[in-house]
Symmetry: C2
Subunit: 366 residues, 2 copies
């Protein structure tokens, strides 16, 4: 079995402003980590997948920076998206490139910018998922929830799987459906039901399985991918890619194939493996305590900070010293040209600052 | 009448950390002003006092910086204190230097680092105070209080002067006594009584009146000043100054001569002029709204700031942009190497940060 990684590094998020910028999105940051998140993601795969089978998909503007981050990667390990078209075209483009070498290659599709603390369990699950994928399944990891999180999509499992704390010991389930981010009340019922897992955005299938699924459920994407495939070795590749890729609909793999296939009751092609691996999608500054060390006063601190009578704060000091006096539950982020101060429970709204900066013509800070 | 200014610029305060440092105390900062506070202080006197009669008293380490701030001042306008000895020796040293030119010179003694918004009224009061000083009085400006402030000393006026809002129209009073900073309850009774004014720390007297008062009430200071006077033109001036000044007691002019003279019931030598001049001692970051402009949301902003759903904050951004999201009543101060975040009502405790830095061996930030 040939296992290939597809690392989705196209993010351009603003949720970690002022540290994240257009030219330095989350995957390049070391948030709660020693190395940039994308490097951590790839390091977790090192013992499983040969570096020559790791494909990184990203936008043109980030490719040079990615190459600098990943010195062991040859140039052909980077697949460039001419424009953002969400995950279905992104993964499809990688699949086309990999299928040229081996249509039966098993693809391990991963976001570049997540945290995982229990790497051993994670690696075991990846191996298990690849075995299932090789047999033609579409597999995903569903994260065992520990709180009624409203920031994640959920996967509803098929049938009765018992209480919240008693998932099937095997951890393998058929999928009833993929559901969007719920409100708090709904999230609580999900948690209590024991039938829902968090959608991790990690997927496993062979290149051929994926391309077949696109042919059935995403014909426009499929058509574009065929056009690209026909020019893989052509000197006109980039022109053809630009044209075909730009013409594709912007659609997520969840919405584009996972949901329709899971609705196909007769065919339990989609499998989910329950994963209890210390996973976090590193969503916003306020959640940093979920995956970084806290001090005796509940402060999460990266960088230089002096704190007096202050607790439960999140501090990221890049080039300067942050001094806290008598404050609680704040996020304080310092970079060379900007400081963010907000309550932890407002950290998800940091894009409002980005909008305000755009309106005030402070593009230099975007 | 020869009027001389004595600007006390010996402050080394930490209350405006991280903007104020050992090498850059408050008088050098432009807090709520366009120019450094000491420049503003001297500009207010320009139409009253010739620049060649402005004497600045400061510590050795700040003299070069003061010269840079005050390019119109010749070198002999700076009187250096070999060590800090509080206001009585400081003013006495200036008086000795000025008395050499003219013992009958009227001294206008001012802290270097206060705010005054009503400059015309202030200048009229200075003129009036100088006239009284020329006649042998010791005069001070007492600020009409508008709140039960616990951060200032008070001056109790002699006799009954009516309600809080009905000070003598003439505004000239004899002094009953000088009192220390009160607690809140006491401050409230002071405010209600209409008998108390804030002690502004501005004084007016002739050089000879002052030196006579020292001879009577501060004999040790007086003795030291005589020793210094004897060496004013000597090549050994600095050595003699160091020795005599260091030997003086550290004592404030309030405690050293104002209080004992005001207790001398038979001789109403001390006069206070009621001053309603928009005065503020620029005590700490939290009080910045008392003398700086506020925006529609009650934020006081100096420097680049983007603010979303945030009100009543004090922001000072020196070299960077501060972004506030959903926060109220905070102080956020950014300098090149440090950021302070604290609630406005904790700003008076910023020295706790300075202590913590000292303990953590972060001397570079002091």
């Amino acid at each position: 079995m040939a296992i290939w990684a597809v690392i989705m590094a196209g993010g351009s998020g603003t949720r970690f402003w002022p540290l994240s910028r257009q030219m330095r999105p989350k995957q390049f940051l070391n948030i709660g980590t020693e190395r940039p998140l994308i490097v951590e993601t790839i390091n977790r795969l090192k013992s499983l997948i040969d570096v020559n089978r790791c494909t990184v998909v990203a936008g043109q503007i980030h490719v040079e920076q990615l190459k600098a981050c990943l010195p062991g990667f040859s140039d052909d390990r980077f697949v460039v998206e001419p424009c953002p078209r969400n995950t279905a075209p992104c993964i499809g483009l990688a699949a086309v490139h990999i299928a040229r070498h081996d249509p039966n290659a098993v693809l391990v599709v991963l976001p570049a910018d997540h945290h995982i603390t229990d790497v051993t369990t994670y690696q075991n699950l990846v191996n298990r998922a690849c075995e299932l994928a090789e047999k033609g399944h579409i597999v995903t990891l569903g994260i065992k929830p520990n709180r009624p999180e409203t920031g994640y999509g959920y996967i509803k499992l098929k049938g009765h799987i018992g209480t919240q704390t008693k998932f099937e010991s095997d951890g393998l389930h058929d999928v009833d459906r993929f559901v969007e981010k719920p409100d708090l009340q709904t999230a609580k019922t999900y948690l209590e039901s024991g039938q829902y897992l968090w959608n991790s955005g990690m997927f496993f299938f062979t290149a051929q399985t994926l391309l077949d699924a696109y042919a059935t459920h995403l014909p426009e994407v499929s058509k574009g991918l065929s056009a690209i495939e026909a020019h893989l070795n052509s000197p006109h590749y980039w022109t053809e890619l630009e044209q075909a890729f730009t013409a594709m609909p912007s659609v997520s793999i969840d919405y584009g194939i996972m949901e329709p296939i899971s609705e196909d009751v007769g065919d339990p092609q989609i499998k989910v493996l329950t994963a209890d691996i210390g996973w976090n999608d590193v969503g916003h500054w306020g959640a940093l305590s979920d995956y970084a060390d806290v001090d005796d006063h509940g402060n999460v601190i990266q960088g230089r900070c002096v704190s007096v009578e202050s607790g439960d704060n999140v501090v990221y000091a890049d080039t300067s010293t942050v001094a806290l006096l008598g404050v609680d539950n704040l996020v304080v982020v310092q970079t060379e040209d900007a400081i963010l101060v907000c309550p932890r429970d407002r950290a998800q709204d940091v894009r409002k600052i980005v909008s305000a900066l755009r309106n005030s013509e402070s593009e230099g800070l975007l």
